[in-house]
Symmetry: C2
Subunit: 359 residues, 2 copies
């Protein structure tokens, strides 16, 4: 089996962790007789912006469309280009143009990783955030009026559609139904956000009727954020709007020790467009350039990508190698500083790739 993968390292630590991700993927491909053909692209980065004053070449869509998947690092470098321009000009474009309407973000406390929460063991935290990824609160609809005066008013539209809400809910219900606990939690804020969130609640209730075996509950986002800290063991699958899913899928990984290990998959479940795999952590200007970024998020993305491409065994093997290396802890594995070790990105990546070959 052969797959063509578009590689976009992007900015900051994206450029550092992507090579580690590729190394791990190549090791896995070797073990399972897969052919992965990687093609590197320099666009969707501040470097590209500096040269071209835009984030993407005009033909980006047809270029990327010919690939089976996109392996993405991180984009955003506010010293050079404001975030809302770099993101709307690349990542958020990809999500919409390729209709990657599900953003799947597993939150799992891994062996060997210290949680910032007291007395939590691997197994205590293991849930999946299913985030709506194309509409909702992320919108550039709206504007300013009476600018520069005391009447200055800014309107920002949240847009939800029946199609957009129902398809991500269906996906989340299906995920919940396929898991042992069959438990779905919906994130809402219908007590304060008076038009869109009551609508979200209605659609959750309607979809729930089609999945009678799934236990459904809902939390307002404020209470839900609190419960992620107080009772992360309560959750199985959590479905959320674009903004709420964004918040919960940074908070969840924080509760599991470090943003450095969290992966995400921007999926077009119809498979009419390529899906995109990116770690949750972002470009991390504060540690970029030091070679100490944790590559596990990027490598775990590689595992999710293999799964999406139809290779669940290879995916599980790669994730197992990650777990093995983490479980050894900072004394025996070259874990990065966020994992209380002194290893570099390259050393940890190498250790995982080796483990892939040995296991």
């Amino acid at each position: 089996m052969s797959h063509r993968i578009a590689v976009i390292p992007g900015d900051g630590i994206g450029k550092e962790v992507v090579p580690a991700g590729i190394e791990a993927l190549e090791a896995t491909a070797g073990r399972f007789g897969l052919r992965l053909e990687f093609t590197d692209f320099g666009f969707a980065s501040a470097d590209y912006w500096q040269r071209h004053q835009r984030m993407l070449p005009p033909d980006w869509e047809e270029t990327l469309r010919s690939f089976d998947a996109i392996f993405f690092g991180a984009v955003g470098w506010p010293d050079v280009v404001p975030d809302h321009i770099s993101l709307w000009g690349s990542l958020l474009q990809f999500r919409r143009t390729f209709d990657q309407f599900v953003n799947l973000r597993p939150c799992r406390l891994m062996p060997g990783v210290r949680s910032p929460l007291a007395d939590r063991e691997p197994g205590d935290i293991d849930f999946l955030v299913v985030r709506e990824n194309t509409e909702g609160e992320y919108s550039s609809v709206g504007g300013r009026i009476f600018e520069g005066t005391d009447r200055e008013t800014v309107l920002q539209e949240t847009v939800m559609t029946r199609i957009g809400v129902d398809r991500v809910l269906r996906f989340a219900f299906e995920q919940a139904q396929s898991r042992p606990k069959r438990h779905l939690t919906s994130a809402t804020k219908s007590n304060g956000i008076a038009i869109s969130m009551p609508y979200w609640d209605e659609r959750v209730a309607a979809m729930g009727e089609q999945f009678p075996r799934v236990r459904v509950d809902k939390f307002h986002i404020d209470a839900l954020a609190a419960q992620f800290v107080l009772h992360p063991e309560w959750f199985d699958v959590v479905v959320a709007s674009n903004l709420f899913g964004d918040i919960l899928s940074d908070l969840g990984p924080a509760c599991t020790g470090t943003l450095g290990i969290a992966p995400s998959a921007n999926i077009n479940p119809d498979r009419r467009h390529p899906s995109l795999f990116e770690p949750v952590h972002g470009s991390a200007p504060d540690i970029a350039g030091q070679g100490i970024a944790n590559p596990v998020g990027q490598i775990w993305c590689g595992s999710m990508m293999l799964d999406h491409l139809g290779h669940p065994e290879a995916a599980a093997h790669l994730l197992g190698a990650v777990e093995d290396v983490l479980a050894l802890g900072p004394k025996e594995s070259p874990l990065t500083p966020d994992l209380h070790g002194t290893g570099t990105t390259a050393e940890l990546g190498r250790a995982i790739a080796e483990r892939v070959r040995e296991r």
Copy 2:
């Protein structure tokens, strides 16, 4: 000095913790020679709704306006009336009609309270969330079109005004300037929410020029939520829009052990309208009726109310009594179950009132 206080217990545990709050306030008033005159109101509750099919009497505004402050329990009982109706029909009305544009929410790890975060001691977590409280994402502007069809689309407006944003930012900068660390963190999401949040960032930058001695940083809300868990010690004053402030001021208290102790003050800093003091926890249907709700949030609200009414020493005395009782821990104080004790609401309230008299 005499003050007239409107008391609105509301729903659920609101009705249980408010009497404990009054007991503590009366003890404090006794110590400091203050006269507090409490008047109870049954509206803004599900009981009232069942009798009248509305949350408030027609003359609520002039009734409440004649008081110096409002001591509020909690509102919301979804079995009887949907949250968006009960909240928009009471609490959110109060905030807007009385222009309580600042919602002040201290997050502090108290002595004797176990944090869910590993290895955190009192003193490690002590910050203030300043939340915009009248506009932003909490809006009932918008609507549905093409209902019931595949084109069904829901629009929800976020509304920010220069006046509304600037006044809460000014308040937050002033708070930061008056504290030893002089550090203000702004919560944003300008990389995804493309109209309103870049505007927020601009106003923060503009206001910052008037406060050169305040160190300002900003975090996107997703990263900020993560840092509350990973590095709560980084924060001093955090300023946020209505929704982001709501989320952060539940998450912050969760990191300090329990939502049960967190207070909030809905303040009209101009003092042209009464301010309202309510605990963060809400009506908590899951534990209502058992008499085990933690009254500390409500009592701490009483302390904030005394401060607002011009009695900082009485306020500090009351908060000190709370700290003394908490510091003794669940063996020696009748702490409630959320604090790992077996005390009741009434017992813990009584212990704090006694401590007020003794200290």
